[in-house]
């Protein structure tokens, strides 16, 4: 073979290798996107908040609680009398405890906001003499259904900058973030907020503002980002929070043998959806470390429970076929090129 031909063949093989790499990368990305489905947003539908309240009561004008079997009588006079005590003499005996917490909190000077608002003039209150019978007025007709306990808490810690305003606007206008917000106990704190200063300032300093905090109801964090860690779009922030939710959920599951997050689809178990996250390599209980000869062969013939012939998911089979076809095609082209050059 002449040098010229050798050079041409070499160049051809290099070009072929590059094209195969590109095809391989493309097929890998496509197959990954086909397998991996974004986790569902922790929405009001998917979050099954336990009903802290026994049952919803709808008795008409006023929403009241279910009445227990009363073992003690209620002092109606005491209920309806005017509460005006300013000191407690004599008091019912009770245990007085000075709260001692393990967390030492420095209480800073509290700033009380003085909003420039209009204070309505209250209606003149009737003068009630203690010796007179208390005036019992009909109760309000407000209809309020007690909300259920929510499993998640979403808190924004915002400053006075444009970035903070933008983040607040995302949670007020973006449909998906709004949906997440409605599924959580939602609060907004500023630097001047007294509750922030006394309860959260030690953990979330002002220098980190703005901060987005998503956590479980017990305080376990799901996603926390502050300052430059917050992305520039609402969609990216939502994606970050979803990813954090995915990681936190996996960490909280009972089976944490490997902590690996993998997605696989198995045709043999209808209870497992194709996109289900599995954190074990042994979904059928037959693990590589305790596999015995014949275990798989037994399942192959156990058609009543398992319908698999090949231990592979549908997506995996498709990918293997497609990649194999492409390799055959490329191989044929290579042969043609070499034949022509020779």
């Amino acid at each position: 073979m002449s040098n010229d031909v050798r050079i041409r063949v070499s160049l051809g093989i290099v070009m072929l290798a590059l094209s195969v790499c590109v095809l391989h990368a493309f097929a890998t990305v496509v197959s990954f996107m086909a397998i991996h489905q974004p986790p569902s947003i922790p929405s009001a539908r998917s979050v099954r908040a336990p009903l802290a309240f026994p049952s919803a009561i709808d008795s008409g004008a006023i929403t009241q609680l279910p009445q227990p079997s009363i073992t003690h009588s209620v002092n109606s006079n005491a209920r309806d009398e005017l509460k005006q005590d300013s000191w407690c003499v004599p008091c019912q005996p009770s245990t007085r405890v000075v709260p001692s917490t393990t967390r030492v909190v420095q209480y800073p000077n509290v700033y009380y906001p003085t909003p420039n608002v209009y204070y309505p003039t209250p209606a003149p209150a009737p003068v009630i003499q203690p010796t007179q019978q208390p005036i019992y007025l009909p109760a309000s007709t407000s209809i309020v259904s007690p909300p259920v306990a929510k499993n998640y808490e979403l808190a924004l810690f915002l400053g006075n900058d444009a970035r903070s305003s933008q983040i607040k606007q995302w949670f007020d206008t973006d449909p998906k973030l709004l949906k997440m917000r409605d599924a959580c106990n939602y609060q907004v704190f500023t630097e001047a907020n007294p509750l922030y200063r006394t309860k959260y300032a030690s953990a979330i300093p002002v220098e980190q503002f703005p901060v987005v905090l998503l956590q479980y109801a017990d305080g376990g964090h799901i996603h926390a980002a502050g300052g430059h860690m917050i992305p520039s779009t609402a969609a990216a922030l939502l994606s970050d929070m979803q990813y954090g939710f995915e990681l936190a959920s996996k960490a909280r599951e009972e089976n944490k043998k490997t902590g690996m997050i993998k997605a696989a689809g198995y045709r043999w178990d209808p209870a497992i959806t194709p996109a289900m996250q599995l954190d074990s390599n042994c979904p059928d209980g037959i693990c590589p470390d305790n596999w015995k000869p014949g275990d798989r062969a037994r399942d192959l013939f156990d058609r009543a429970e398992h319908q698999a012939v090949v231990w592979a998911g549908a997506q995996e089979i498709v990918i293997v076929v497609v990649v194999g076809f492409l390799l055959l095609l490329v191989g044929g082209l290579v042969l043609l090129v070499v034949k022509k050059l020779l």
Binding site: A25, A52, P68, V74, S86, C91, L137, E153, T198
Partner: protein, 201 residues
């Protein structure tokens, strides 16, 4: 031949780098922090003390409500309420005034302990009739080392101090004091956050 070998090697290297799956993410759960107790622990510096109003009456109901609203991060509403209302109060007029202010609330008048269970579970707390002619703030049930459940009460006559009363006794006495309790329907503040998981490297 050498060039062919180099080309094949390049092809294998590129294929390996382009075709490898990303390594799965490993996460590890971290130990949970002890829960806050009581669940509605309003910081002591934010406790509102009772005051005598223009009519010479104590304002325990309004002080309790201010404590309750401050816990729910409704500071502006709490300040407006304290600015507007003082002196004595009774249940029905309190609810009328809450209606006028546009505040949603839930209440009981039958000393229903499950109402306080709900207030604890949702971390909202409540105001309730407690002690003779008095109103205090309920900060939740708490379980003590003796295994018993206690009601944690913030008395606006003694800010900075929690008073604990055993549950059965509390419900019995609460009924004697009128059995009224009210809670504003507003989301509670978040718990103090703690790191619940970490990504293993």
């Amino acid at each position: 031949m050498m060039r062919l070998l180099v080309a094949v090697s390049l092809m294998l290297i590129c294929g390996c780098q382009c075709g490898c799956e990303p390594a799965p993410v490993r996460v590890r759960a971290l130990p949970a922090a002890p829960p806050e107790s009581p669940v509605c622990a309003l910081p002591a510096v934010l406790h509102q003390r009772n005051e005598v109003g223009p009519l010479g009456q104590g304002s325990c109901v309004h002080a309790s409500l201010v404590n309750h609203l401050r816990w729910l991060n409704q500071f502006i509403l709490a300040e407006r309420w304290w600015k507007t209302y003082h002196d004595g109060e009774y249940a029905s007029r309190l609810m009328q005034r809450l209606d006028a202010a546009g505040v949603d609330y839930v209440y009981t008048e039958k000393a229903d302990p499950r109402f306080l269970d709900w207030c604890t579970a949702t971390r909202r707390g409540a105001i309730l009739w407690w002690k003779p002619s008095h109103c205090c703030t309920f900060e939740g049930w708490t379980k003590q080392p003796d295994g018993k459940t206690y009601a944690v009460i913030l008395d606006n006559n003694r800010p900075g101090v929690w008073e604990l009363t055993e549950r059965e006794q509390f419900v019995r006495l609460w009924a004697g004091y009128g059995g009224f309790a009210l809670s504003a329907v507003s989301p509670p503040p978040p718990n103090r956050t703690w790191l619940s998981y970490e990504i293993e490297k």
